[in-house]
Symmetry: C2
Subunit: 384 residues, 2 copies
């Protein structure tokens, strides 16, 4: 059966990326590698809308988050971490693990932090070294208004603004320079359309400066060292070179489409999925829904296990379930990366079918039609 993955990582990988990764690895101490590495870093700048340093780590997104924390802080430093889901909680847990003084701003899952709340936290802890945000909280399908948050932080503090952009960069609008972000991590297996195994970190000049002063013990995930090596096209440790070659192809595709158009496509897909699931009678989980992944409450009479199995066995479709206390209570449909409007229609058709198989009454075609309409009406070009 044809398989369709609508999980918020890994996302579908274009065949040109897959084939590039099927080439023999090249030696990483060679002119060919340095050219590849430089090209990838430059292309990443466009995707992050960042003019400064970008480094690529052989690591999960979590390792990328850790690289930011350990490279920019010293033991005992204060940080603010916004916990509105599993990934926000990770910033806080990680900070405590490394002996940081963590002010955790806890918000209900499905809500986004307000700029005022951050400003308030900073007033209480004016010497905060870093504020850690989650652009797209994948566990809840929620987007944070990073632009307004960064503005509020900058207005009252010198704290470094650190953004988990693992499931947003390359999909959702993010303007690293313009918004005044200091460190942001992306994951290869999300909007970047590459299999998992790479974390990409963009750094501001302030952040690069901070790496020189930060005394947190670190080695493999030392961003200062990565930046220093990158000056000659090198990496301090052996890079995951085939994934990097795949990233080269994927970034070329993104930049060919144009990053603003990529963002618009994700807005269109998000609008479509939201309209579709609502038309089927499902309620959105998030009050600030992300255009990368849509979370919706499961109808009370439908079991997640049954729905997941029906989707897999009947349709070859994989959605993600809920995490933490929402495990079994919500579904999460990703529309991030190498996805277009017709993929979204397939996802909704499968959802209609599987909900029906689980005994939930659906008006066949209602979800697909509503999604199609919403996508055609999104933006100005009236296309899916």
């Amino acid at each position: 059966m044809k398989q369709r993955l609508f999980t918020p990582g890994p996302t579908p990988v274009p065949h040109t990326v897959l084939l590039r990764m099927a080439e023999q690895p090249i030696y990483h101490r060679s002119p060919e590698f340095r050219a590849l590495h430089d090209r990838v870093r430059k292309a990443c700048q466009k995707v992050f809308q960042a003019s400064g340093q970008v480094v690529v780590l052989a690591s999960s997104g979590t390792g990328g988050m850790e690289s930011i924390l350990v490279s920019l802080t010293s033991p005992g430093d204060g940080i603010i971490a916004v916990n509105g889901g599993k990934f926000g909680a990770r910033w806080a847990e990680m900070g405590r693990r490394f002996g940081l003084s963590v002010q955790e701003i806890t918000i209900p899952w499905g809500e986004a932090v307000s700029p005022e709340r951050l400003a308030d936290g900073l007033r209480r802890a004016p010497r905060t070294q870093a504020v850690c945000l989650t652009h797209c909280e994948t566990s809840t399908g929620t987007v944070t208004d990073v632009r307004s948050c960064a503005e509020a932080i900058r207005a009252c503090s010198d704290a470094l603004i650190c953004v988990d952009g693992v499931s947003s960069v390359g999909g959702l609008e993010l303007r690293f320079d313009e918004w005044g972000i200091d460190a942001c991590v992306a994951g290869s297996q999300k909007a970047l359309m590459v299999p998992p195994g790479l974390a990409v970190v963009a750094l501001s000049e302030r952040a690069v400066g901070a790496t020189a002063r930060a005394t947190m013990p670190r080695f493999a995930l030392d961003l200062g060292r990565a930046v220093a090596s990158a000056a000659t096209g090198d990496t301090p440790w052996t890079p995951a070179s085939t994934l990097l070659a795949g990233l080269d192809v994927a970034l070329e595709m993104l930049n060919q489409e144009g990053i603003e158009r990529v963002w618009a496509r994700h807005r269109r897909l998000g609008a479509g999925v939201r309209a579709g699931v609502r038309a089927l009678g499902l309620e959105l989980f998030s009050h600030f829904p992300s255009d990368a992944v849509t979370a919706a409450w499961l109808p009370r009479e439908v079991s997640w296990d049954a729905l997941r199995d029906a989707l897999r066995s009947r349709c070859g479709v994989t959605f993600a379930g809920g995490q933490g206390e929402f495990s079994g209570r919500i579904i999460r449909i990703s529309h991030l990366g190498y996805v277009d409007g017709y993929d979204v229609l397939a996802a909704l058709a499968a959802l209609e079918e599987a909900l029906g198989a689980c005994g939930f009454t659906v008006n066949r075609g209602a979800g697909v039609a509503a999604a199609h309409d919403a996508m055609l009406e999104s933006g100005t070009d009236r296309r899916v």
Copy 2:
């Protein structure tokens, strides 16, 4: 031009491995992934000759070394690190970076540490938490007699025996259980015949126990967490699933050949390359040459830059140069991983040709013939 890579990582990747990695990534929270993960971990046990825990990290080999150090120690603990080259030095540097009390046993590059020297070090620091060895010191082409070293350590100490097996596991004889090793890290891009991006770590029961007591701050590289997740087939963070799928194929190949026969093949290749370079009048660099990579002094009249360029432009062949103070003075020819005797003959033919092009008089065919003879005479089966 056909390209041949004789670098000690990355090594050539079999096309079946490449093609497997060109398949769409699978969702890592699925029965398919758990089956893959379990299969890979079991196959790794055969390669390490280990009956305990094996975990796979999305990381460079350096990150794998760090995972061992931070998961098994607490700040202020004493460790012994043997520095006989670039990678031994890395254990020591890493230990200091993490606030460990490092007793560095420095030996000249090209020498191997003696068991007596280790026993002596342990007598001076009887509360040492870990002894860090390098099985194959890639920078010098030197093999350490890990079996005898481990025996000497066990005889006088409870220190955990940690082995950098990045460029040995799956190529050189290593018997994790039998030799009493506690932690050993392998790299995907070496004998394991997969592109870079994975570190594989085997742990003894003692080592797993130590992860529970070790207080070194850690997160992404926490082996205790990886072991706990692996109990249900999971990984704590997103795994590099396409590399893992490639590793599945490569391990199947290694275990099909039989790990003892794989070791014998590497012994044969090592004997061949050593005989070949000697027949060309080159002197071996190491006094304990490794069967994974051969380092040889460059003739005084030959410049490394010229030789490297001749190899690349005339022959499509890549060797590695020297590192540290031996940069420009030695060549390193890898014969690790997906390499057979005829590959070795190609390497020596290219070396003959490129040395000649650099003005060094070679007796054409002498290196190839000597290598061929040595390989046919190595072992009992008289084949290349």
